[in-house]
Each structure stands twice: as C-alpha cells, then as structure tokens.
Amino acid sequence: MSTPEAPTRTPSLRKRPVPVIFERGAPGRVGYSLPESDVPEAPLDAVVPAAHRRSRPAALPEVSELDVVRHYTALSHRNFSIDEGFYPLGSCTMKYNPKINEDAARQAGFARLHPYAPEDLAQGALELLWELEHAMAEITGMDRVTFQPAAGAHGELTSLLMISRYFEEKGERRGTIIVPDSAHGTNPASATFAGYKVVEVKSDRRGNIDLEALRAALNRDVAALMFTNPNTLGLFEEQILEVARAVHNVGAQLYLDGANFNAILGITRPGDQGFDVMHLNLHKTFTTPHGGGGPGAGAVGVRAHLVPFLPAPTVERDGQRFTLDHDRPKTIGKMRAFYGNFGNLVRAYTYIRTMGAAGLREASEMAVLNANYLLARLRDHFEVPYDRVCKHEFVLSGRWQRDRHHVTTRDMAKRLLDYGFHAPTIYFPLIVEEAIMIEPTETESLQTLDAFVETMVAIAHEAETDPEVVRTAPHEAPVTRLDEVTAARKPNLRWRPEE
C-alpha cells in the first residue's frame, strides 16, 4: 500500500500550526470598506455621551482582506466535511447536503427578508412554511408541526413544556419523565430543564426497552416516556404498540425522539404508532448542513390534543393569503425569537420537493440496506452486541480488540482518520462497552462502503499485528492526540492581547 518517499527534512506543511488571527496583520491595518458619514457632522458627545462610550476599542484583529481570506481558507483546509469524505457518525445522519438547497436558501428574497416585515411582504416565506408544515405532518402522521425549535434538544424541551401545559389544563401535576438507558443525553437533560425528575429504564437483551421494567416504572406521576425509535442501537422497538398502550394506560404521553427518522420515511409513521408528540432534526433526515455544530432546525409534531399548546405564532392560510396567528390563548409561549431557523427550513423544503414521496421512501430503504450491508461485512471482525437486523445504523463493540490487544475503540477511531474517513460515533450508546456506532446513510456509494469495510478490517488486523501504530494514531492529521486533561484543568478559552 505504502510508497517510498524521497527524504525530507522539512516539517510537514499540513502539520504547521496556523497562527491565531490576532497574531496576523499589523497595527492600523484594515480589511473593510465603509462610507464616511453623510449626515451633518455632530460632536460625538452629542450623539452618545462620553460616559456611555467605551474607553478603548475592542482588541479585534487588524488585518487586510487577503489576510482574512488566507486565514479562513487555511482553517477550512484543516477540517473534515461531507464534501470531502465518508462521515459514518452514528445518530447524526451525515448524508449529502445538496447544493441546490444552498442556492434556494441564499436568494435575497429569503435571506434579506426582515422577520417583522408586514405579512403582505412575506407571503412567499409564509407559503413555504405552510407547505412544509403540511408535508411534515403527512410524513410523521402528526396533526400539526411547529418549526420554532432551533435544534433537536430544543424540540425536546418544547415538547415537554407542551406536555406540562396539557396536564395543567387537565388539572394534573405530573413530575416524572421516563427515558430508556439507551437514550441520547439531551433527553434526560431536557427533562431536567423542563423541571422533571428523570427515571431511567433499562433495555432488554434484544436491545428493546425492558417492558417489565417500563411497566414497573409507569405510574400517575409519569408525564411522558421519551422514546427513540429506531433507538440509538439502530433497532426498531418491536413492542412499540405494547409500549404505547402501557404509557397511555397511566395517562402519560408518548414522546418520540425522531433523530433516527432517516430509517422510516414513508415506511411507518409515529402518528400511527401511538406517539402523541415528537421532534425531527431537519439537519439530519432532511439534509440541512450541520455547519460544524449548528445551526440545525428542529420540528415538533403533535397530535390534535396538544395543538392548542404549540408555540406562537402558527402559520395559517385563508384562501390565497398566509398569516401568522399570534393569538393562541393556550400556547406555551415562545421558545426563541421570531419563527425558527427559516434558512434551514427553505433547505428542508427544497429537499422534500426534490425527493417526493417515492424518493423519501427509497432514501430510507437504501439507508437501511447500506447499514445492514456494513453490518454483514463487519460482523466477523468486531463483536456485535445486539445481533438483529438493524435499521439505518448499528452498534459494534471494540471489546475484542480491547481485551485481546489492548487497543481501544478510541484508538481504532483515531486510526480511521489516517485512512481519510471520519470516525463513527464512539462510546455511545452508554449501554454498549467500547461502542462503535456506524451510520452510512443512503447517499454513500457501494464503492465508499466497501473501502470503509476494507479499512475497518485492516485496522482490526493492525490491532493484532501492529497495535502501537493504532494506539498512537492519528499520524496523518494536522495534530496528533491533544492533551484534553490540561485543557480542562487549566482552561485556555480565549486569546488575550498583551497589555
């Protein structure tokens, strides 16, 4: 595989650190261009009293336009993105982000529209929101959908607050939320943030929730079960109907964490499964880009009985006109200013209109096929803790490599970087030791999947024959492993100007 190299005595270019932007440039250098004031000159003190003005300018960079361009271009070349390679991050649905979505969202008619522009000036935007809501309602089987949440966790909080209002309306006060031990961290965190006590229920040997344990945990203080289906093991909860029945029997609400919706588009609908409320991550299933951590867009769908509690405003249609309805007496209020991450909603709408019903179903079919393909090809090389047909993702364990060769899942993940792949999600879900969570998505080609399999197998082999190279990986990245302990003990969270 490797090729002989001529001798070099230079430090690798890629490993040369990029100075922080504050260390570029020179005092007095500028990279902007703005007009001078064209209004009659007034003494600055008359404009803003000195007492309110800052004594010295903020110590921002002093760089030319080319300095700025070089800096951020260099930083962009020290990243790993979907456009560059395979990103099998389980639970994150790193599918291709279509370019046409960007062209749609960046149009001035959307990007330069003020949120308080009179409704008459925003009919196109409101129509898009209305159409998107109806598409999402059909896809999820819910009655109405709000797009106010900025992300999945925000959607969770929105949902829990609606559930609280729902019980208030019924004159009930419930204080407990149940989450499976396989749940994503945002589930319990959101429950706490909504003022609930969190009770965790364990999973059974097949990777389903343990029905007995669930029944035991359910009582009239339980407001809801936060349920992820397919769950974070990539498995569909086979007893979903029993779960729904059990939850409803104590009058609790059934909440779906829809982060894994990419497995079931057009195949099954949470609304039909008995879910009362759910969130979707449009930045996963619906191709809006992750932006290196955000922004995303959350969508929350509810059944009729929760509609009155939706955040305000909602988008309504009368005839050919679209309006914002702020007058929602039972609303939980607002989860953020304005209406949601509109720019990403344009992208999601564009994607849905590109795919259509058949296309969305096909996406889920291929996402599931690709995951099962990888599972089939990797099963002999890594331990498979839950050996079932998976959905859009699956979880392996690095236990064999750890126990036999003292090579951890982290080591193997870092080694993958050397071969040009992003690592899978690791050490999650918590119920699997040395977890390796792999989600290929439908947008990756068979050629890419095969290359990934060969690399995983090669790394498993390296773990046996050359463990050191794996333990010290990555070797190809701009930096080697970073000292996270010191980073946390003596946090350096900002550059400081020399006084």
Binding site: V63, L241, D272, A488
Partner: protein, 452 residues
C-alpha cells in the same frame, strides 16, 4: 426511478441487488418485518410530486420573489433584527463547504480549523463584551437570555429573576416559557420612561433575587445606566444579566463587563448574519471566569498535542448533556456554530477600526434622523434617554398607517410598539443603520411631514 432522486441515492439497480444478496434477504421489505404490520404504511405518502431541479428552482425563485426583501426597500425596521452591510468575505469564507458540511468537532485532530475558528470567535466575543469567557454559541438572543436566568438561579441559589420591561418582548416571552416549570419566578420591572429606573430596580431587588435582567441598548433603543444597575443588583447579592440585541453597539458603547455585568447574553445576527426572516441567528453568552463551569453550551480550549504543537479541543464537557445527562448545565447540543463563524469572519474583516466605524455611522445617522423627526410638527420623541441606532417616536397617526403609506414609497417603516406595549400604541420604533443614506433619511422625513 427519477433522476432527481437517483442523484442523491447512488445505488444502481445492480448494486442494490448485490447489497440485498450480501445482507441475505430477498427484498428490502424483509428488513422492516420488525415493524408491526398494522403500523407499516400501506400507501405512498401524500406529498407534492418530485420536482426536477429546473422546475424546483423556478418555483423557489417565484416564492422568494413573493417576498419584499431589504434589497428592495429602504429599511428603518430593527427591533432585534438588523440590516447591516455584510462584506463579501463573509459568505465566501464562512460558507465554504469544509465548514458548512462538517459536524460538531468530536474528532478534534481533523477539525482543527473549526475549533480554532470558534476559539477565535470566543476571544472576539470576550473583547466585545468585556467578559472573561464566551461560549461557542446558543440558539439565539432570546433563548440565551432564558438560559442565563437558570444559570443565575443556580449560581446564586435564588429563585427569582427580575426583568425590565425594556427588554425585547420576545426575549421576555421566551424567558417566561423557559422558566415556566422551573422553580424560578419571573417578575417584570416596568421601565416607565424608556429606560430601567435604577431606583425602581433597587426597590424591587430582594435577597430572593437571583438576577436583574436588562437589555442595553434596550428595546426602545435607549442606553441603560449599566453601572448603577450593576451596583443595585450586587448590593443585594444578585447578578446583573445584560442582554445585547444589537452587538454593533459594542463598537462604540462601554462593554457590559466594564460596568459590572455578571452574564452577558445577546443576539449576534447583526454581526454579518443574514436577516433570514428570523433565523438561523446567533445566541451569545459570556460570563466571568468564576462562573465558567456553570456556563451552558460548548467551549473550545487551546491545548497541545503529543508533539507539543498547539491545538484546540472541545473542553469542560462535563457540563454538557452527553456526559452529565440529567445533571447537565443545559440540554443544548447542536448550536449555531456556523453563525458564530460568520460573526468571526465579519469581525475579522471589519477589525479593530471597522467595528468602531460602523458603530459610529449607525449612531450618527440615527441621531440625525432622530433630531429631524423630533423637529417635525406632530411628531415627538417618546423618551429622552440617549440612544444608539434605534429610538421611539410618538406619531400623530397610527404607526401602522404610516408604514402603509411609506411602503408605497419603497420605505420599510419602523415597528408599531402597540403590538407589544398597548400603552404605547401611538409609538413607533425606528432603526437607522449604516445602510441608510442621508438621502433615504431625508425622504423618510419628507414623507412623514405629509402624513399628519
């Protein structure tokens, strides 16, 4: 199969067959048998048909054109979303696909670009606000303020937050929603003449008060008496939370950290982010060193690699949901990193001088407009306090009516305050940024003269 679908799903028919064989099933349906038959969808979803790219783009162009954006109007509307000039560097650099299509930098070694950019962003936020620590972003200004309330309650072990009615009405609504089921009570402090009264604040703050929350410049555009308010809060052991909805003001105004703010929240949209009909925007939160372990959201720290090279990592993660779960400082996971990057590129491009320049332009133009309108018969300034780039005008006719008339002249008027403050239904919140030319301001004034 339609190309519009195939172009995103590369598996050809032959490849699909190979995959089915390798998986060992005859049909894809065999992979869905774990879904109870009665809830498997028997019909296709009822959605509009798949549209080929040219058709779809034409449709989206038509939708966009059914909006009237700020390129087609002279915008005097602000109220939490600002029409500032965005230098060309911002979209060209911040939207590079290497940034746009990357995930959260969990694999630090191959995400040094993102991590360093956010570390630099945090540093810029600290410089702007005068605080010690800023996080990697929150959802938006309103939700960041909501989070600040529970942060303050935790830090002080107190149960009440006091918020000035001069804080953006939507921020206050969000605060109420956020705290509705937490052991936190929200009290509003009426701002009678357009600013938060220090006396009223001092009177209202009790030793149950976790924080006094003000906005500066506030929703009426007025600059608050930060120093006195900080003292009022601190005297009673409460924290001062300052929300900054228009961060461009910090190019000219005293940074909250300098006058004693304990937590600064804000909306970073004005820093190079598009208006986008309200989102995605940029939630800012910054605080003092002492409170770093209670700050919500992600933090990037600088460290070294095994070869001693500088490098960047997500740090202090024990605060976060994926480690701490139910005990996390917040439930936030996906944030607004790209908007933070946009702000960083914007601030780097404007730089030390440019941020002062743009802030002064805003202040001077708004001041000019304010004086001219105040001089118009029938119109008056609602409040006396000094302002930055927004101010409130009392009008002889309903503001909504004025806006209707201005629109016919290509002017997007200010916000009629009545919507949020019934008592101010004759009041109009105007915003003047560096984007408005003297000519546009004079047109506005001329038209107002005719509207009486």
């Amino acid at each position: 199969r339609r190309e519009s679908v195939m172009k995103y799903i590369p598996a050809t028919h032959a490849e699909r067959e190979r995959i089915l064989a390798a998986v060992g099933v005859r049909a894809v349906e065999d992979l869905f048998r774990d879904i109870p038959a009665e809830v498997r969808l028997k019909r296709p979803l009822d959605l509009p048909p798949a549209a080929p790219d040219p058709t779809l783009l034409a449709h989206l162009r038509a939708l966009a054109e059914r909006n009237t954006d700020c390129d087609r109007l002279a915008c005097f509307l602000g109220a939490g979303a600002y029409d500032h000039f965005v230098p060309s560097t911002v979209p060209h650099l911040a939207l590079r696909p290497e940034f746009l299509t990357a995930y959260t930098p969990y694999q630090a070694e191959i995400m040094q670009g993102e991590l360093q950019a956010i570390y630099e962003y945090q540093s810029m936020m600290c410089e702007l606000t005068g605080m010690d620590v800023a996080n990697a972003s929150m959802y938006d200004g309103a939700s960041a303020t909501g989070e600040a309330a529970s942060m303050a309650a935790d830090l002080t072990k107190r149960t009440e937050v006091l918020i000035s009615t001069a804080v953006h009405p939507e921020y206050r609504q969000v605060l109420r929603t956020y705290t509705s089921h937490l052991p936190i009570t929200v009290r509003e402090l009426p701002a009678l003449d357009g600013v938060t009264s220090v006396e009223a604040a001092r009177a209202a703050i009790t030793d149950a008060t976790a924080a006094l929350i003000v906005q500066s410049p506030n929703f009426f555009g007025a600059i608050e008496e930060g120093e006195a308010l900080a003292k009022a809060a601190h005297d009673k052991g409460a924290l001062l939370v300052v929300a900054v909805a228009e961060p461009i003001s910090l190019g000219l105004l005293r940074p909250p950290g300098e006058y004693g703010a304990d937590i600064v929240t804000g909306e970073g949209q004005a820093l190079g982010n598009a208006l986008n009909f309200g989102g995605p925007y940029l939630g800012m939160i910054a605080t003092r060193e002492a409170f770093v372990r209670r700050i919500p959201g992600r933090l990037v720290g600088r460290t070294v690699d095994t070869a001693g090279r500088p490098g960047y990592v997500l740090t202090l993660q024990t605060r976060e949901q994926h480690i701490r779960r139910a005990k996390a400082t917040s439930n936030i996971c996906t944030n607004e990193s790209l908007n933070a990057l946009v702000a960083a590129v914007y601030l780097a491009t404007l730089g030390r001088q440019g941020v002062v320049h743009v802030a002064e332009l805003c202040a001077r133009k708004a001041h000019y407009a304010r004086e001219r309108i105040a001089a118009l018969p029938g119109y008056a300034l609602a409040f006396a306090a000094p302002t930055f780039n927004e101010f409130v005008v009392r009008c002889p006719v309903p503001p909504a009516e004025i806006n209707r008339r201005l629109l016919t002249h290509g002017i997007l008027g200010g916000l009629p305050l009545g919507r949020f403050y019934p008592e101010y239904d004759d009041c109009w919140l105007l915003c003047v940024t560096e984007q408005r030319s003297r000519e546009e301001i004079d047109h506005l004034v001329d038209h107002l003269e005719t509207v009486r």
